[in-house]
């Protein structure tokens, strides 16, 4: 974990609610925490360059835009190949998350997770098949887990504890 200053943390918390829709949004943000507009911009640029902020821009709602199916594809990739495969898998445009995670033998043999979005279930499965064929993983053990019931969804945002797209967590 990178050491992040109090000022940067405050700014990150603040920006979790989104950039104000005002002519000078960085000035509006700064005025809430007594920070000059130029300093807000400068700090955001450094957080982006330093990799703390991975992406800064419009966050779209996949579901509302018709991408209603999401499948968590999981793969048992030999350890020696997992980084190479992961880096390639993370580049498919319909993959929105791609992580190596630990196996838990024998019940959970998979070590690579890639979230695949699509307009429908069969589209997601087709895309997973394409990934397998493109990366020569057809002989690798894999599965796709679709979500069924949603019990809680807070628009999980790292570093945005308790801030929830301006709405409370949805619970079933």
């Amino acid at each position: 974990m990178i050491d992040i200053s109090i000022e940067d943390r405050t700014l990150i918390e603040l920006i979790c609610d989104g950039l104000p829709l005002a002519a000078r949004p960085y000035q509006v943000l700064g005025s809430r925490i007594g920070m000059a507009e130029t300093e807000v911009i400068e700090r955001l640029r450094n957080l982006i360059d330093g990799g703390v902020i991975r992406r800064f821009g419009v966050v779209v709602q996949h579901r509302r835009l018709g991408y209603t199916a999401n499948g968590m594809s999981v793969w048992n990739v030999p350890d020696a190949r997992v980084r190479e495969v992961g880096e390639q898998m993370g580049q498919f445009e319909y993959v929105t998350l791609c992580y190596q995670r630990p196996r838990h033998a024998p019940s959970w043999p998979y070590n690579l997770f890639a979230m695949v979005h699509g307009a429908a279930k069969d589209k997601v499965l087709e895309q997973v098949k394409t990934i397998a064929e493109t990366l020569e993983l057809t002989h690798v053990e894999r599965d796709v887990l679709f979500s069924r019931r949603q019990f809680k969804q807070c628009g999980a945002r790292y570093g945005c504890k308790g801030k929830v797209d301006n709405e409370p967590c949805k619970t079933a």
Binding site: I4, Y26, G51, V59, V60, G86, G90, S147, F151, G159
Partner: protein, 149 residues
């Protein structure tokens, strides 16, 4: 949705202008006024096509988090899910189609607090919790390319 809306959605998912008047800069690129850009984004937000304009923070840069999973007998699923959901540190909790059927994300100030939540869930439910923290992140997050039929 017109072409302008599509550009506003697709083209500014990253590298959002870090200048004093970002909406004016976007307007200049799309031949719109600053006010028109602001109004268009307000409409897209109103219609819930966007959740916000903002920062996506890299995982585990601020605080700690993990993905956890449990194999819950069908007749206990509702009760166990409700218990898991009751923790403020749990921000996602889904049933997935698999015999390991309950999947949730725990995010807290540090790894210790994450561990405490998982331990309490195991102790209270008497079920194993698989702890699946990120070992390595391979996705660069360049935004999501939207396609319109």
């Amino acid at each position: 949705m017109d072409d302008t809306d599509k550009s506003l959605l697709n083209d500014f998912q990253r590298n959002f202008p870090l200048v004093a008047r970002p909406y004016a800069e976007i307007g200049a690129r799309l031949s719109m006024s600053e006010d028109e850009v602001i109004e268009a984004y307000a409409n897209l937000a109103e219609q819930k096509y966007i959740s916000r304009i903002g920062a996506v923070i890299a995982p585990n840069q601020v605080g700690a988090s993990t993905l956890a999973a449990m194999r819950v007998p069908e007749d206990r699923l509702a009760e166990v899910a409700e218990f898991v959901t009751s923790f403020s540190q749990v921000n996602h909790n889904y049933e997935r189609e698999h015999d390991i059927n309950l999947w949730f994300v725990v995010a807290a100030d540090d790894v210790l607090e994450v561990g405490e939540v998982l331990s309490r869930i195991e102790a209270e439910t008497d079920l194993e919790v698989l702890n699946l923290p990120i070992i390595e992140d391979y996705h660069l997050d360049l935004g999501f390319k939207l396609e319109w039929a």
